[in-house]
């Protein structure tokens, strides 16, 4: 059943009825071509060409980081409640575009059921995190006992620009698992999309563009990790790198070493799902993945704690 649908859709996309789509980077709220002018072919499971996707370079990373830095203050200064509303809006728009994502994921080799499951999980995760924006300070902020006559309190603040290295799979849920805590935290981000399954991540940019997310808060760059990880890990204006343990050990070591230059925080969370389980990702795995991603501590890791001493009289 799944296979049939997949080949149907492939032949459909090659017919005169539909035109092939160019997937582009998403930087500063605009869909821009890569500076390199180079592309790679994303293939369906049966080997048929689906789309050309940009092989971005360090210049695209530079542009994305610049956009993220410029947008950061605006996003960080929004009220927590407003950030929550905007993130919730992403879920609303994603809901409406469910079919587009399903179609693309089937092309890439997902079964319809697996695709729908992952998208449902994504929507659930967005709604979950949207709720956290105005509760972080309430739950994790603190009033601290001190010996002097001071009112001493701590609260979480955004840390800045975050580089997100997406796992290859699950490309959409994995990306959101890394992205959402940062959005909630008030950071702005540069996402390096999954190389093998970039389409859902690229299409997610269309969701962002049509929701209320201000330009520059989420920037998406496609291409090879070998081209993109060195410039982002060396970049002095990136404050955090996050990824997961499915990333090659060499790249993880490079991130750690290069991050010393400006003391980036580097986090590689436990890998979500092994690559070879993609086609048969059972519901339970997605459910497990979703559950493990629902964790407010991911937000705390990408925030700074500010502690204030305020003198009090008798």
């Amino acid at each position: 059943m799944a296979k049939e649908q997949s080949s149907d859709l492939t032949s459909h996309s090659n017919s005169m009825n539909s035109i092939p789509k160019t997937y582009k980077n998403y930087i500063n709220g605009e869909f821009s071509r890569t500076e390199s002018g180079r592309y790679y072919s994303v293939k369906a499971q049966d080997g048929k060409h689906i789309a050309n996707v940009g092989l971005s370079t360090k210049k695209d990373i530079r542009n994305a980081v610049r956009a993220a830095r410029k947008a950061h203050e605006f996003w960080a200064n929004k009220t927590a409640y407003n950030r929550g509303q905007i993130i919730y809006r992403i879920a609303e728009i994603l809901c409406g575009r469910r079919e587009q994502f399903t179609t693309e994921m089937i092309l890439l080799g997902y079964s319809r059921e697996a695709a729908e499951n992952e998208i449902q999980a994504c929507i659930e995760l967005i709604v979950y995190y949207a709720g956290w924006t105005d509760k972080i300070a309430q739950v994790f902020g603190s009033v601290n006992p001190v010996a002097s006559k001071h009112f001493n309190f701590s609260r979480q603040e955004p840390i800045g620009v975050v580089g997100i290295i997406c796992p290859e799979t699950p490309s959409l849920l994995g990306m959101l698992g890394l992205l959402l805590p940062n959005m909630v935290a008030g950071n702005s981000q540069v996402i390096i999309a999954s190389k093998r399954y970039p389409l859902p991540v690229c299409t997610f940019a269309e969701v962002l563009a049509t929701s209320d997310v201000p330009p520059g808060i989420v920037n998406i760059v496609t291409g090879s990790k070998a081209d993109l990880i060195p410039p982002i890990s060396k970049h002095m204006d990136v404050n955090v790198l996050v990824g997961d343990t499915s990333l090659d050990a060499d790249f993880r070591i490079m991130c750690e070493l290069e991050s010393a230059s400006n003391m980036k925080r580097v986090f590689f969370w436990e890998s979500f799902i092994p690559l070879n389980e993609l086609n048969s990702t059972p519901n339970e795995t997605i459910a497990f993945c979703l559950n493990s991603l629902k964790d407010p501590y991911y937000i705390l890791y990408v925030q700074e704690v500010k502690t204030t001493w305020h003198p009090v009289s008798e």
Binding site: K58, H235, M236, N262
Partner: protein, 294 residues
């Protein structure tokens, strides 16, 4: 006295567009960045300029970025007349010149006497270069002789100080007017012609600068006198600065690729040039966090 020379606006824009496509990389880029820094008039012209801010600016002019030892100093600092003495005090043992705006900057809306006094004051405080503004109101109402006389009297008041004449091209309306004002300023004795005060938008743009450079070229061809050029305002990135250098090289030749004949009036450009410089040396894109604000 001064001819009105017709300007081919589309031709100018196309020439500029061609020049902007030049790709300057690696060693050439480093050379260009070095030159841009040595040509810079580090500028602060705010009502809020405090003593501390001027000190900071002067120190930055001397040592743009202490972590890299081979970075050159800038050409000059540019301040208001009442800050000249302080800047002079800090920079007196260095090669850095002190430029001061004068003549009722930025509008120029005052009497000639007050403008002359302003220049005398700045020069007596120790300014090496005077940046004057022309009377745009007079120019636009056709009182060219008055504008000419003002410039030549101010040139006289400058004494040994260099005179840069600010045309404020954003207020002149057309490229023909800009060409005419350039010719007028050159004939009246300007050592430099300068695009803008930085207080009006648009400030320096490439088409405007090209027209002014052509005025300088034509003057050189007919008289043999080399007049300098200073684009100011709106030049924030190294890329823009390098494009200007290409424009100068292509229009006037290598003689003008020297701080004595070409300057950038800028404040935030310095940090971008430094960031590009460090990036070329280290391979790391830089963050403004590691460069001083002023």
């Amino acid at each position: 006295m001064i001819d009105r020379i017709p300007i081919d606006t589309v031709g100018i824009q196309e020439r500029v567009a061609r020049i902007c496509t030049r790709s300057i990389k690696r060693e050439s880029k480093l050379k260009a960045l070095d030159l841009a820094l040595r040509m810079m008039d580090l500028t602060t012209l705010e009502g809020s300029d405090s003593e501390g801010k001027i000190r900071q600016l002067c120190n930055k002019a001397l040592h743009p970025y202490t972590e890299l030892p081979n970075i050159p100093s800038v050409a000059a600092v540019c301040v208001y007349p009442n800050r000249v003495a302080l800047a002079n005090n800090i920079l007196k043992d260095s090669s850095i010149s002190i430029a001061s705006v004068a003549t009722a900057f930025p509008s120029g809306m005052s009497s000639l006497q007050i403008k002359l006094d302003d220049v005398h004051y700045a020069v007596s405080e120790g300014a090496d270069e005077i940046d004057m503004v022309i009377s745009r109101g007079a120019f636009l109402s056709g009182e060219y002789a008055r504008v000419y006389d003002e410039i030549s009297q101010i040139k006289e008041a400058c004494g040994n100080a260099h005179l840069k004449v600010i045309l404020e091209t954003g207020e002149l309306g057309s490229l023909e007017n800009i060409r005419m004002a350039s010719d007028l300023a050159i004939k009246a004795g300007a050592d430099f012609i300068k695009t803008s005060t930085g207080k009006i938008s648009p400030a320096a743009t490439m088409p405007v600068v090209l027209v002014m450079l052509q005025a300088i070229r034509d003057n050189y061809n007919s008289t043999g006198v080399k007049v300098g050029m200073k684009p100011a305002g709106g030049i924030r990135s190294s890329k823009q600065a390098i494009q200007y250098l290409v424009l100068v090289k292509e229009t006037l030749g290598t003689d003008w690729l020297h701080p004595s004949l070409f300057r950038f009036g800028a404040s935030s450009l310095a940090n971008d040039v430094l960031m590009q410089w460090v990036k070329e040396k280290t391979g790391r894109y830089q963050s403004l966090n590691y460069f001083s604000n002023d």
